[in-house]
Structure formats: structure tokens, C-alpha cells
């Protein structure tokens, strides 16, 4: 068994209005951050996965994303996996 550090990123599909991104963009603008645009805010999830190998860890994370972590009606996801260095 190996333990991996998973990093999942979930964000709203481009067609879905992101009010949070919008608000932050406006705030940045009024604070003088000219040149920042198209702000989108999503979720970043991190966790440890223990599995036989990278492949089955990937399958598990993918299933977790599809079933729970992401709602495909309005969201998309990507993830990365990295074998954890031993302490």
C-alpha cells in the first residue's frame, strides 16, 4: 500500500456565472489592481489516499470526484496525485 497526496480542483463550468469571482474582480479593481481580469473561484481539495498502486488510487479519486466532490451539472474537476514522501 502506498499513500498519495491528492489535490483536486473543482470549478464552475465557463457557462455558469461565478458571483464570487465577479465580486473579487470588482474589489481588486477598486483597490487599484488594474490588469487583473476574468477571475473565477473554485474549490481546492486536498487529502491523502492509500491504495495498492497509483492506478487504483487514481480510480478511487476519480470516483470520489464524480460521485461526491463535483456536481457535473455545473462543475468540472481535475486532480493530481503524488506519492507521499516518507517522513
Amino acid at each position: 500500500m502506498t499513500t498519495y497526496r491528492a489535490q483536486v480542483r473543482v470549478w464552475l463550468k465557463p457557462s455558469v456565472f461565478d458571483p464570487q469571482g465577479n465580486a473579487v474582480e470588482k474589489a481588486l479593481l477598486t483597490l487599484g489592481f488594474a490588469g487583473i481580469e476574468e477571475v473565477r473561484i473554485g474549490k481546492s481539495m486536498e487529502f491523502l489516499v492509500t491504495a495498492d498502486n497509483q492506478e487504483s488510487a487514481e480510480a478511487m479519486v476519480d470516483r470520489a470526484c464524480r460521485d461526491v466532490l463535483c456536481n457535473p451539472v455545473m462543475e468540472m474537476y481535475t486532480f493530481t496525485l503524488e506519492a507521499r514522501q516518507e517522513a
Binding site: V16, P19, Q20, A23, V68, N71, V73
Partner: protein, 228 residues
């Protein structure tokens, strides 16, 4: 008839719904714990408002896996009227019993206030007591009530007359001002406003009572028909 009001950890309008049912219909209404697995005894199901599982991750996302949800699905297939109010609506969309999703309000704020709704169809077990075009005053109380669906679904909802209620003045940025929708078979309703908070004079509106009265009438008439 017998009503079930499902209680998830974090539900907080369960008792309000129960009291409203009793007040409006005089029927028996039972709180059913999310760990239960059968709803065989019930003629109508309510998924109440609240913050099931804290609404963490996405509202309704975790509740949809509760053991009781398998029974809710079965009842949906059997044609039992199922109504999801606020968080209940969110659970129903997450469970794919209704299309679309409910997102964070356009202005990012929670909104609690009396709003006006237009009844869009009375062809449903939930709205038969109203006339299309009726304007109802019913409170909203939500932070994630912006109804979203892709254009194909919105088109389908429109074509099939499955939009049950629209806001007169869109409070949250919902697509096409949608406040409540019906399933294809019309026996599942999800709506963001709280009809159980508009059933008595002191609540400043009794317009929500029609929802419970419609369901009661639908079920009792259907039972009558079966008896023949």
C-alpha cells in the same frame, strides 16, 4: 392520509413542515429519520429545509447519500407526491430526481424575506388548488437558491409546463426567475420558498396552505379512485 417529513442531520424546518401539514390538512405527519430505509406507509413525502450536513461541499450533496434516499427514489417511481422545500429542493437536484442545480445567490448574500411568486401551472399534485397566474406571498430564506440548468433543460421545462412557480421579482439570479420545478412525471416538486411559513395569519400570509391542501386532495382523491 399519512405524511413523512424526512429529517437529515442539519434539517431545521422539519417541525415547521410537520406543524403546517397538521394545521392545514389535519393529517398525520411523522418525522422520519434519515437512517430509516422504508417509506412504504406514507402517501406523501416532504424533504424539509435546513442545512443538511451543514451544506458543506454543496448544499444537499451529502444528504443525497442518506439511507432514506433509496426509499424516496422508490416512492418517486411509484408516483407518490414528493416535495422538496429549500434544502429539500437542493437534495432532490443533487439526487437527480429533479434537473438542474441550485447555486450561490447572485449577490452572495443570504436572503430572508417575503417574496411574490407566480403560479405557472396548476397541473400538478402540488398546485391544483391555485390558478395559473395567481400571485402568492411566500417567504424565502436561502443563500444558495439560484436555479441553474442548461438551455436544453430550461427549454424542456418550459415546453412541458414543469415550471411550477416563478419569482415576480427575481431575488437570487435564478435562470428565468424559476422558483420551483416539477419532475417529468409531475409527482416531484422542488421549490426554494417556504410554503410552511405562510399558513397562518400571524405569518402574514396563508398563501402557502394551497400547496399542502393540493397534495392532500390529490392523495385522498387518488385513494378514492383506487377504492372503486
Amino acid at each position: 392520509m399519512k405524511w413523512a417529513v424526512i429529517v437529515f442531520p442539519g434539517s431545521n424546518c422539519d417541525e415547521d413542515a410537520q406543524q403546517a401539514i397538521i394545521r392545514v390538512t389535519g393529517d398525520e405527519a411523522t418525522l422520519v429519520w434519515h437512517q430509516e430505509t422504508s417509506l412504504a406507509d406514507y402517501d406523501a413525502i416532504v424533504l424539509p429545509g435546513g442545512f443538511s450536513y451543514g451544506d458543506y461541499l454543496r448544499s444537499g450533496a451529502i444528504a443525497r447519500f442518506a439511507p432514506i434516499m433509496k426509499a424516496v427514489r422508490d416512492k418517486a417511481v411509484q408516483g407518490t407526491p414528493i416535495i422538496g422545500i429549500c434544502n429539500g429542493f437542493q437534495v432532490l437536484t443533487e439526487a437527480h430526481l429533479l434537473p438542474g442545480a441550485l447555486l450561490r445567490n447572485r449577490d452572495l448574500h443570504f436572503h430572508c424575506k417575503m417574496v411574490e411568486l407566480r403560479v405557472e401551472t396548476n397541473r400538478s399534485p402540488f398546485t391544483a388548488a391555485y390558478q395559473p397566474g395567481d400571485i402568492l406571498r411566500i417567504p424565502i430564506a436561502h443563500g444558495e437558491g439560484r436555479y441553474f440548468a442548461d438551455s436544453a433543460i430550461l427549454h424542456e421545462l418550459q415546453e412541458d409546463h414543469r415550471v411550477a412557480f416563478r419569482y415576480v421579482d427575481n431575488p437570487n439570479g435564478s435562470s428565468e426567475s424559476i422558483a420551483g420545478i416539477l419532475s417529468k412525471e409531475r409527482n416531484v416538486l422542488g421549490l426554494m420558498p417556504h410554503p410552511e411559513r405562510a399558513v397562518a395569519d400571524f405569518m402574514r400570509s396563508t398563501d402557502g396552505a394551497g400547496v399542502f391542501r393540493s397534495i392532500h386532495q390529490y392523495v385522498t382523491e387518488r385513494e378514492g379512485a383506487h377504492a372503486h
